[in-house]
Amino acid sequence: MIKTEKKGLLAIEGFPVMLVFIVIILAFMKTAPNAFLRPTIYMSFLTYNAPTLVLAAGLTLIITAGEIDLSFPSVIAFCGMVFAYLYHITGMVFLPFLAALATGAFIGYMNGLILTKIGIPSIMTTLGTNFFWTGLTILISGGVSLNVNPIKGSFLHTLLVGRIGDLFPAQAIWSIGLTIFIWYLLNRHAFGESIMFIGDNVNVARVMGVNVDSTKIKVFTLMGLMGGFAACLLTFEMTNFWTNQGSGFLLPVMAAVFIGGTSISGGEGRVIGTLFGMFIVGSLETGVTASGIGGFWTRLTTGLIMLGSIALNIVLDRTNGKRVCFFENLRNSVFTKGLKKE
């Protein structure tokens, strides 16, 4: 007999976040029925959040490995530029797309190389490279945006960001598909297991024969590659490149990962949680506005929800012995620790 410690619904990965997401959507359906009971808003939601989701899935792996990547906004900008410029020079769509992916992978590889071989912590490495690649983007483009409108109608454009049945955005399938792939990679692949052990305790990983440096470099390269892909999704959807196109991504992506229940201390990653975390972050913006509460409230609500779901994750994750009991967990949680005597 193989025993599982978590019983019932709690055994489902990312269950608390799903719960929060459902509650939020139900609340918005009540407050803004005109918007939230029609498919249009969901379609536009899936369209504009696809790059965010791709980035968040990649970042989940990085955070699981106990590292952080702050450089993906610059990847979005630089890879978008690589695509747009090469498209203008060559007139081809596919090759510039591959070049953008390769550029992303290269930026990630450089991040990995710097932090493993020189030993600069990833937060500083990627902060530095973020400035570097953003700066290079501005320098090369001269701060001017570039229109790539003619790619509309090309095969790759339809494949990546077309509308299935004139309604459903293809990038939703790409981004959710990639997220599922990342879940398999993390939870079912030897590579993912190495990532978890590195994030958990790098010494254990090392003495058990995991090649720590090469695994880290691979994770960052993968993150760069996914950044390149996200950049292409964005540029294809907008048929436009602009120099600060990556600037809005940093905080929502991080928020999605943390709302999803991935711990900043590493060792555990919840890709499904990230998926729903991204849904929450994305729907708040739209929902709060559509509910007529006013756009000023968006940030405040996002903050509250983020803290709330992280707290919920921590509380629900405690397993005492064999049985998991919500109220028992609540009693023993950090929030009430000060109230009782040891």
């Binding site: 193989i2 025993k3 599982t4 410690e5 398999y184 079912r188 692949h189 030897a190 590579f191 297991e193 190495s194 978890m196 052990f197 958990d200 305790n201 010494n203 254990v204 990983a205 090392r206 003495v207 058990m208 024969g209 995991v210 060792g267 555990e268 397993t319 012995g321 064999k322």
Partner: protein
């Protein structure tokens, strides 16, 4: 498992190790026979852990030779994975298991059972892990299963898991690096029972400790190192616990005397 006509599972000849200006090990000669439990004793900082790291391929010695089953091993192609292949497993004091991971993942980290594309065969891994936990280590009815997380386990149970893992992978030599530090008396007894299982199963063991009391009962031979050198090497028959204790004390006081003279 290669040539059967060897005297020692592992042998170190004139091994030395330098870290910059610090000479951590000098001229170490050390060997472990078949089905022998060797207690490696020494004070903190004597060089025990460095020796372990050399035996397990984490560090490469600056000079000297390493023989496994009578065959010379060159430093260049010796590493943790190779050590595992040669049947040498290590149980560390605190860095053997990943805290947040389930037990079945801990059993197979670094050598997962995978398909061609590197995806893990979870069903098989869990099945084997379950056998190790239930039969090899005997954790029946204590509420520990393959899906338990390491953080739920007591210190003794953790060492049991690590030893069970080592035994599963057909290790001929299991190195225990201070497995009882920071454990309660009861937990220490548990670990010592696990060591007994190693001996009964016909394997060899190097038990590193600075607590003679723990080592004396289970070891066949003792090697004492001090400041990077082997200072004594004798079998259990030659010495009682009292004598050994006295010897160590005398040695320590002599050392202190030396320092005073200077």
């Amino acid at each position: 498992m290669g040539d059967k006509n060897f005297q020692y599972i592992l042998e170190m000849k004139n091994v030395g190790m330098r870290f910059g200006n610090v000479e951590a090990l000098r001229n170490i000669n050390f060997s472990v026979g078949k089905n022998e439990v060797v207690g490696l004793l020494g004070d903190n900082g004597a060089g025990k852990s460095t020796m372990v790291k050399i035996m397990t391929g984490v560090l490469h010695p600056t000079c000297g030779e390493l023989y496994i089953r009578g065959q010379k091993v060159t430093a260049k192609d010796y590493n943790v994975k190779k050590a595992h292949k040669y049947g040498i497993e290590t149980v560390y004091q605190d860095k053997s298991l990943g805290e947040k991971q389930t037990l079945w993942r801990n059993f197979f980290i670094g050598r997962q059972i995978t398909n061609r594309f590197g995806f893990i065969n979870i069903k098989k891994e869990k099945e084997i892990a379950n056998n190790i936990i239930m039969d090899m280590i005997g954790f029946r009815g204590v509420g520990i299963g393959v899906d338990s997380k390491v953080s739920k386990l007591s210190g003794g149970e953790r060492q049991g898991i690590a030893i069970g893992r080592a035994m599963h992978f057909d290790a001929d030599l299991i190195i225990l690096d201070e497995p009882t530090v920071a454990l309660s008396v009861k937990e220490v007894r548990k670990v010592l029972q696990f060591v007994d299982k190693i001996r009964i199963s016909g394997r060899s063991c190097v038990y590193i400790s600075h607590n003679i009391g723990h080592v004396y009962d289970i070891a066949d031979r003792f090697v004492i190192i001090d400041r990077g050198m082997v200072v004594a090497n004798f079998s259990k028959k030659e010495m009682t616990l009292e004598k050994l204790d006295e010897f160590l004390l005398r040695y320590a006081s002599k050392k202190r005397g030396d320092e005073l003279e200077i």
